[in-house]
């Protein structure tokens, strides 16, 4: 697992800005408040993850932002356009990839890209040139002439993304982009999404995979029961609730504890667990670890084992909602 080191300029313009965005569905069973007042600020050039269990309101929010369903109330600006007043202009500026994809099994990959480009106003010639570029970029050139019904899940997903970016939108919506993909295809897709971000596209995605939010996303909003319960970079979120934990297998607990407690970067130190290990709670494990080792070494102490563990976004979810996302998510 890698850590994000990418920093986002806080002053960057908001590509998505919502205030008190709500959606209430009224059906036979009465009114259901799917989204209960969501405030979001998605900055230009980031991968923004919307994390939550199934039914939390992720997809409803994304579908509102992508113009597919009108919000019940609230404000939203998407790609610089007022979503409620002018959904048509929003559509020109965004790309959208649904969870289930959107290609016809009887069309070829190239055929789908060409028509998609023409729907955005390109001439047939321009569309063919652009389709070839996208096919090459997504490693689909060899399969371009085959019907999409013959594609693997990963290939179809890449084609879906290709259709989402054929008109080079500044903002791309991905609804549960890796659901149903095997780990290899998922990793490939993450690479594609990072490439898009690195080329300046803002990506807004929903996911119920903790790892996806943690590893892929620059910033994350956690949604539960239609409300955002936490928002920030994955590192900030995790640090805010617990900090990192350094676990030491070492003798002379008392000396270790008193030494560690004197250090400013150690928030808490104890050996109360019955496993006989010393636990140090630190703000930033990556920095703390070498310092700790120097400290122990200087005092003539040498640990037999040392482990650094970080809280997961599941711990964040657990802390905020009282439930584990692993149990809640299908």
């Amino acid at each position: 697992m890698t850590t994000q080191t990418r920093t986002i300029d806080p002053a960057a313009e908001s590509v998505i800005r919502t205030r008190d965005l709500r959606k209430t569905f009224t059906g036979r069973g009465g009114a259901v408040e799917a989204v209960k007042g969501v405030d979001l600020d998605v900055r230009a050039g980031e991968i923004f993850g919307f994390l939550g269990p199934n039914g939390a309101g992720k997809t409803t929010t994304l579908r509102m932002l992508a113009t597919l369903i009108p919000p019940t109330s609230g404000e939203a600006t998407v790609a610089g356009v007022d979503l409620l007043r002018n959904p048509g202009q929003v559509r020109e500026r965004i790309g959208y990839v649904a969870q289930g994809g959107g290609s016809d099994p009887l069309m070829t990959g190239r055929g789908e890209l060409v028509i998609q480009a023409r729907l955005f106003g390109m001439s047939r010639k321009q569309a063919e040139v652009r389709a070839a570029e996208v096919l090459a970029a997504l490693d689909l050139a060899d399969a371009a002439g085959r019907t999409t019904g013959t594609y693997s899940g990963g290939m179809r997903r890449r084609l879906d993304i290709g259709m989402g970016i054929v008109h080079q939108p500044k903002l791309l919506f991905l609804d549960e982009p890796t659901t149903g993909l095997d780990p290899q295809a998922r990793a490939n897709l993450w690479d594609e999404v990072r490439k898009l971000r690195d080329n300046g596209t803002t990506v807004f995605l929903t996911t119920h995979y903790l790892e996806e939010a943690d590893i892929l996303c620059d910033r994350v909003a956690i949604i539960d029961h239609g409300t955002i319960v936490a928002e920030g970079t994955p590192i900030e979120l995790k640090r805010a609730i617990a900090g990192d934990v350094v676990t030491l297998g070492i003798s002379e607990h008392e000396r270790v504890l008193s030494l560690a407690r004197a250090e400013s970067y150690v928030r808490e130190a104890n050996d109360q667990d019955e496993d006989g290990l010393v636990r140090l709670y630190v703000d930033d494990g990556d920095r703390a670890l070498p310092q700790l080792l120097r400290l122990l070494d200087g005092a003539g102490l040498s640990p037999q084992t040392i482990a650094l563990s970080r809280p997961s976004l599941d711990d964040v979810f657990l802390r905020k909602t009282g439930r584990s996302l692993r149990e809640t998510a299908a």
Binding site: G88, R91, G100, S103, Q116, R118, L119, F120
Partner: protein, 254 residues
């Protein structure tokens, strides 16, 4: 104009996909063709001996009904294709593009009209050896009338598909609507043979007026009042159906 261009794009794509699987075009022709070959000859002898049978050859009475059948059933079932496009996500994908909502509908409906006009022409050619006699100019107007029926029924079928969203719900609704429309249009036997109450019921059915108009047109009777009435009626219905369907296309979260 953008709507025209968008309509063409959708027409082109829909037609391409239909032609990739042309077996449905042939299946759609099979039933009217069987009626023509296996039922038409029966009608011929009945027509000669039955008082009240309208003037003109038996096939000039019979074939217009079969053409209505092609237009009615061909267009009534197009919603099934839309449901499969909704299921594959194509409809939703296109809803998040600048594509005109009206073009999403009209492009598909025009594809349906072209297909049913071609089917109608094939059936007419097949009916000629049986003794169908048609006025060439009348044929053109008759095809326009069939197109209007297509432009009425196809949008309605699409509307139902967008609302019902699955085949199991769509099939009984479409059958329930189209079968009485078909029987009350006098396609197998002319309604001049029907009792009064049935004739009254048939007059409420727009398709019976379309059948009357096509029969008159095949005989070259352009001045027959049924022609103007049938065309005007179907034109109004087509406009209404297109308006309703394009609203549904605009709103529906397909």
């Amino acid at each position: 104009m953008k709507v025209v261009r968008d309509t063409w794009l959708i027409f082109e794509r829909s037609m391409f996909l239909t032609l990739r699987n042309p077996v449905w075009i042939i299946v759609g022709l099979l039933q009217p063709f069987l009626y023509l070959v296996l039922f038409g000859p029966l009608l011929k002898s009945i027509a000669e001996s039955t008082p009240g049978f309208p003037p003109g050859g038996a096939f000039n009475i019979f074939v217009p009904g079969l053409l209505i059948q092609i237009a009615l059933f061909g267009a009534a079932f197009v919603g099934f294709g839309l449901i499969s496009e909704m299921r594959s996500g194509v409809v939703e994908r296109m809803r998040v593009t600048p594509l005109s909502r009206f073009a999403m509908l009209l492009g598909r409906a025009l594809r349906d009209v072209v297909i049913l006009d071609v089917q109608a022409l094939v059936l007419i050619v097949l009916a000629l050896p049986f003794g169908l006699k048609i006025d060439p100019a009348g044929l053109l107007v008759a095809l326009s009338l069939l197109s209007l029926i297509g432009l009425t029924m196809a949008p309605l079928s699409y509307t139902l598909a967008l609302i019902l969203k699955n085949e199991d719900a769509l099939a009984p609704v479409v059958t329930t609507i189209s079968l009485p429309l078909l029987l009350l249009s006098g396609i197998l036997l002319p309604l001049t043979l029907a009792p009064d109450w049935l004739q009254t019921l048939a007059k409420i059915n727009p398709l019976s007026h379309a059948v009357d108009a096509i029969r008159a047109l095949f005989n070259g009777h352009f001045g027959d009042p049924s022609v103007g009435f049938g065309v005007a009626l179907m034109a109004i219905l087509a406009i209404l159906a297109l308006a309703v369907a394009s609203r549904t296309f605009g709103r529906s979260a397909a």
